[in-house]
Symmetry: D2
Subunit: 248 residues, 4 copies
Amino acid sequence: MVRVTIWNEYCHEREDAAVRAVYPDGIHGAVAAALGGQEDVSVTTATLYDEAGNKNPDCGLPATLLEATDVLIWWGHVRHWDVDDAVAEQVQQAVLRGMGLIVLHSGHMSKPFMRLMGTSCTLTWREDGDMERLWVIDPAHPIAAGLDRYFDLPNEETYGEPFDIPTPDELVFIGWYEGGEVFRSGCCWRRGLGRVFYFQPGHETFPSYYDSRVQQVLRNAVRWAQPTARKAELGCPNVTKPTAKFDE
Amino acid sequence: MVRVTIWNEYCHEREDAAVRAVYPDGIHGAVAAALGGQEDVSVTTATLYDEAGNKNPDCGLPATLLEATDVLIWWGHVRHWDVDDAVAEQVQQAVLRGMGLIVLHSGHMSKPFMRLMGTSCTLTWREDGDMERLWVIDPAHPIAAGLDRYFDLPNEETYGEPFDIPTPDELVFIGWYEGGEVFRSGCCWRRGLGRVFYFQPGHETFPSYYDSRVQQVLRNAVRWAQPTARKAELGCPNVTKPTAKFDE
Amino acid sequence: MVRVTIWNEYCHEREDAAVRAVYPDGIHGAVAAALGGQEDVSVTTATLYDEAGNKNPDCGLPATLLEATDVLIWWGHVRHWDVDDAVAEQVQQAVLRGMGLIVLHSGHMSKPFMRLMGTSCTLTWREDGDMERLWVIDPAHPIAAGLDRYFDLPNEETYGEPFDIPTPDELVFIGWYEGGEVFRSGCCWRRGLGRVFYFQPGHETFPSYYDSRVQQVLRNAVRWAQPTARKAELGCPNVTKPTAKFDE
Amino acid sequence: MVRVTIWNEYCHEREDAAVRAVYPDGIHGAVAAALGGQEDVSVTTATLYDEAGNKNPDCGLPATLLEATDVLIWWGHVRHWDVDDAVAEQVQQAVLRGMGLIVLHSGHMSKPFMRLMGTSCTLTWREDGDMERLWVIDPAHPIAAGLDRYFDLPNEETYGEPFDIPTPDELVFIGWYEGGEVFRSGCCWRRGLGRVFYFQPGHETFPSYYDSRVQQVLRNAVRWAQPTARKAELGCPNVTKPTAKFDE
């Protein structure tokens, strides 16, 4: 059983009727629906703000929930800096101890992602509703399973290079935009014992999370990011000289 | 079901009594035993030479067998150049079309491995029976599952750097030798649709393939290397302009 | 002084008046002109065929020339398989011993490049004369020095992903095509002691090698690819146990 | 002219007579001497504490100094957490904007390095004064220029794997310790527009920075890490649709 927690800052949907019309159950609700109906995946949602716009305790991510999460999905945009540093650090540490992290769209500037990358994570952007075509660069990658050579989204926010990230350990998708940009839209990194996947689509004003191919990517990514090993804590131990470990 | 074929040049064991004493069923037999007893793994062996020392047709690897192989394990040493170029090319193409390849020990100079790497694959070597300590560099890697921080082999052939290979996509083990060398003893590459794992231990005069930790690595590597996607053939197609593929 | 040799198969320009009109001095001549006028760069050209269409001895690349080459630039297209295997192997070995190699456009299927990559090097292609926009992915890379965020070529052959190459050690350019494709148009690899750069532009029917930004890339790439170390030969030496090398 | 600043927390040498006996001019002084006498390198030193043990303003690194630094060398050990977060962030940002950073020995747990890596940067350690043998893994790497296949330090602190770092973009050295450990002792990363090199030797109680080969590595690393491009600030600009940039 893979235990997935979907975290959303949950501002646009509450505050903007146009966004609410696209995502009446919140972006977290749409992503949860995409992952639902799989026997071996359990889904929890968490938000920075509650329905009334009050900030949730522990930013919606108490330590107990984080401990019980195998893969965390993160959507944030306009309130990155309202996430407490302590929570961002706990997410970072959880990844290093083995949790998977899937960062969506504008989450490229979220505190947990920026901490894990170590770079500015900057890019260029335009909100012209360009068509985005996502090309599969690595057809054997598990995150691309079941996809054709490419797929298109009728409208997305345009993200452009340079995307200031460490070279991805695995590059799965490159996005083409009708207005003339390219973007490394699907990138994988291994960090500590955990795995991180960044996926570009998902602007709040467009229904990308209802697209069946985007949903396929999310389902694949959850399986790819699930922990292979976990550790209770990280440390820098003083050790004794190693002794021979022969097979008996 | 993962279909594994273990290929061995099968010279030392036939020609040298000391080696035969260590591997009476051949190195391929010892590796087969290490992989046996797993419900979802089927094992076939193939050799360059038959018991009488005659070269087998198709170097023991007819196209039909290669087609029916998910993961090929390769052990060769003193007759690399007796493997037909056509067979080496078929192995390379099979990997590019999705087959997994696990190259053992002196197989670093085998034709299939050299073709897939593109480098000289040279290293330095000593046959002093040094102890080798294999350190796990990437504890979350599936090939290291179930292992401690390190394990030791009482005697191995010493391989030394520089090992002229492309930078591994994933570095799993570094070997320490009591005589003073280090070696990148466990290396992963993605090539085409296939995966390649090189593993240092396995000199013909030492019983490394009976070691439980080496066997664990082999079992893990088979699972890691199994195909995620396969293709009937490779080509460079002339295409028409892509048309929009929206979700329906 | 960097000694550059520009190798061209030299078929299109001799055989096709339309191509000759674009490259009256041959593609090798245009590339040589782009590199000329630099005090510390000396340029030689070599071709597979002579003006009369006869194949040159040693495919135009005698061992003495290869020995005297720091960086080899390669353009080939329709006669890849007319390059002798022995010559292709000499080029591969020269790279592994430290020579730089810059492979242009359709050279992705040339023997030396395929040998160095180990993969099928396949891609998709269209000859519709699309505009190509080359985005700088790594603005600090020496090969991108002096370039803006992107530059455009009015017409190029369209190359599309998946491009079956090992993950580049450094990805410098991604190409955007107006017809809808993306392509990893500028890729770097380290192989042995040498460096390899692949650059997409340069279809024989388009004047890409007269473009000042393409020329800037070529000049930058020559400097990047020049040898840092060279070796007389490659080998796999049997060594003695290392002895301590303390500083005196 | 490469402008190098050598930063040292400068505690051990002031507080411990045994260390002061090894490094009477401070570790920064020994590193400065190693870099001195090169016409095109200018060297400045900076320390966290002054001679009297008072913390210097701006941790010894005022913004003006950082702006005037091409390559920053960092040695810290027991007061990592006394470095202000603001200073650590300024160093990180300077690297992302193009400055080179060379992190020595126990600096693996320094704030700037940890921020740039995004991982825990943990390792195992022993203070048994083991001999360390540093093997050159990448003989063509500029940082290994002028070195033999390996060199030895009679005594060093033993660092062991797993070293929790992102996979290095380039791995230059692997250390072998007589007590049985291996360690990725020389690692390169590109981050933003800057370059980072980590080098293991340099425990405060051993005279490693007087070793001619260590000094060679430091000189090489300074040249490798110097900026290729620099930027005044980092940002995430809203852009307009790109327009064609043809060559005139």
